[in-house]
């Protein structure tokens, strides 16, 4: 079951930027695209742990700031020749507010 909770306004995140949500099992990066779509991914590159929230976002992808791995924001999968997977979380926008699935975060925290 999903259980969405409010984490802030869409306007709190710059377009083509990201903000962090702290959880008991590390940070989740909330990305906002130029079309105002939002995505939630672990803020940790599977390659060397780079903070993906600090990467350059382009289209629906982000480039890790440490070694330029590129991840699809929809799936969390590495693009191109690199092989890796970042966990994604259900997130949506309603009435200008950003909502994230609380249960998936609690599950992540319990597993950590």
């Amino acid at each position: 079951m999903s259980n969405f909770i409010d984490i802030g306004a869409l306007g709190d995140i710059p377009q083509q930027g990201a903000r962090l949500v702290k959880t008991a099992a590390g940070c989740i990066a909330i990305f906002r695209t130029v079309e105002d779509k939002v995505f939630a991914l672990d803020d940790k590159c599977p390659h060397k742990g780079g903070p993906l929230s600090n990467g350059i976002q382009h289209g629906e992808a982000v480039t890790c700031p440490l070694h330029n791995w590129v991840f699809d924001l929809n799936t969390g999968a590495a693009q191109g020749a690199d092989v890796g997977q970042v966990q994604t979380y259900p997130v949506k926008v309603e009435n200008g507010r950003v909502l994230i699935d609380k249960n998936s975060i609690a599950t992540k925290a319990a597993a950590a």
Binding site: T33, N54, H58, P65
Partner: protein, 333 residues
């Protein structure tokens, strides 16, 4: 330029000028970019070309800058940052050193390193602590050293004729003047200077983007050095007689490079393309052109020579440094 367009860097810059394109979306629309919103290669280049072309008009796009330039600190392998305050001409004071030591204690800086550019690197700072640490350094009179920038980095100097028995000119004083004039400028790649007080060259001016070697009769101006991926010795641009001349020639050379070089090309790469003779013609042989270049540089500086740390210490760009929400206490229902 990248997979988003068939145009070259030079084509894109030409169109930015000719068509007066003043934003990244305007460039992408007018020049029919093949991707939606560009990529991590073209966006920083376009942002630089707009910064250089339209000082005072263009609104910098932080999301098109690499993280180091977005948060004005260098990202490290563990996601922490390093902080390097500017020390003009490599000079510092006991008060500055005390403030740096206090900041290192207060923010639990694990490593303090002396850089090759004659300043101090505080390594391992948490991103959330950056604005408060900058505020403390600002309070002691220090500004960002731009150690992260495709822009003016350091001006390395030797102690010059004030102390050295071989010194021919005030190399330290000239280095400070140069750094005070040039800091804050963005360029296609990093730009490093050095001023040596005599041909023994203790400041290693012969491997800098712009180096000066003082001699009894004046100042030898050297360009196109590098000591990075490639090792390059500088070549002689020309010789001038006064400090004021050295400063004007340096500003003019920097501006010529800023206006013409491809993004991520150091001066030596750009000089290899355009030819040193052309650069000498533009700077040494044409006083009117040289003065115009220097004027355009200082006009640009009137907008860009601001301390990015002070802006952020006062609350600017807060979204970069604070989390959006804290869900550490969340439990499933």
């Amino acid at each position: 330029m990248c997979k988003c367009t068939d145009l070259s860097h030079q084509d894109v810059r030409k169109f930015i000028r000719l068509k007066a394109l003043k934003s990244i979306p305007a460039i992408m629309q007018d020049l029919e970019w093949g991707s939606s919103g560009g990529c991590a290669a073209c966006r920083p280049a376009l942002n630089y070309y707009l910064v250089a072309e339209w000082p005072g008009e263009y609104v910098d796009d932080g999301q098109s800058r690499f993280i180091n330039e977005r948060v004005h600190a260098n990202i490290q392998k563990d996601g922490t940052y390093s902080v390097v305050p500017r020390m003009f001409g490599g000079m510092t004071t006991p008060d500055e050193l005390r403030a740096i030591a206090d900041a290192a204690d207060k923010y639990n800086v694990p490593s303090v390193h002396v850089t090759g550019g004659q300043r101090i690197d505080l390594l391992g700072v948490q991103k959330e602590d950056l604005p408060a640490m900058w505020a403390d350094l600002n309070a002691a009179g220090m500004v960002s050293g731009h150690a992260y920038a495709k822009g003016l980095r350091t001006v390395k100097t030797c102690v010059g004729k004030d102390h050295c028995r071989f010194g021919t000119q005030d190399s330290t004083g000239l280095g400070i003047k140069l750094e005070k004039a040039l800091w804050g400028a963005w360029s296609p790649h990093k730009f490093k200077l050095a001023v040596s007080g005599c041909p023994r060259n203790c400041a290693e001016a012969t491997c800098k983007d712009f180096g000066i070697i003082c001699v009894d009769s004046g100042y030898k101006l050297l360009v196109g050095g590098a000591a990075g991926m490639d090792l390059r010795e500088t070549e002689l641009l020309g010789t001038v007689e006064t400090e004021a001349d050295a400063l004007e020639h340096c500003a003019a050379f920097y501006q010529l490079y800023r206006e013409n070089a491809q993004y991520l090309h150091r001066p030596y790469k750009w000089i290899a393309e355009v030819g040193l003779d052309w650069v000498i013609e533009q700077i040494m042989d044409n006083a009117e052109n040289r003065a115009a270049l220097a004027d355009r540089f200082f006009f640009s500086q009137s907008f860009y020579q601001t301390d990015p740390w002070a802006e952020r210490a006062q609350g600017g760009e807060a979204h970069e440094f604070t989390p959006m929400a804290d869900l550490t206490q969340v439990a499933a229902e």
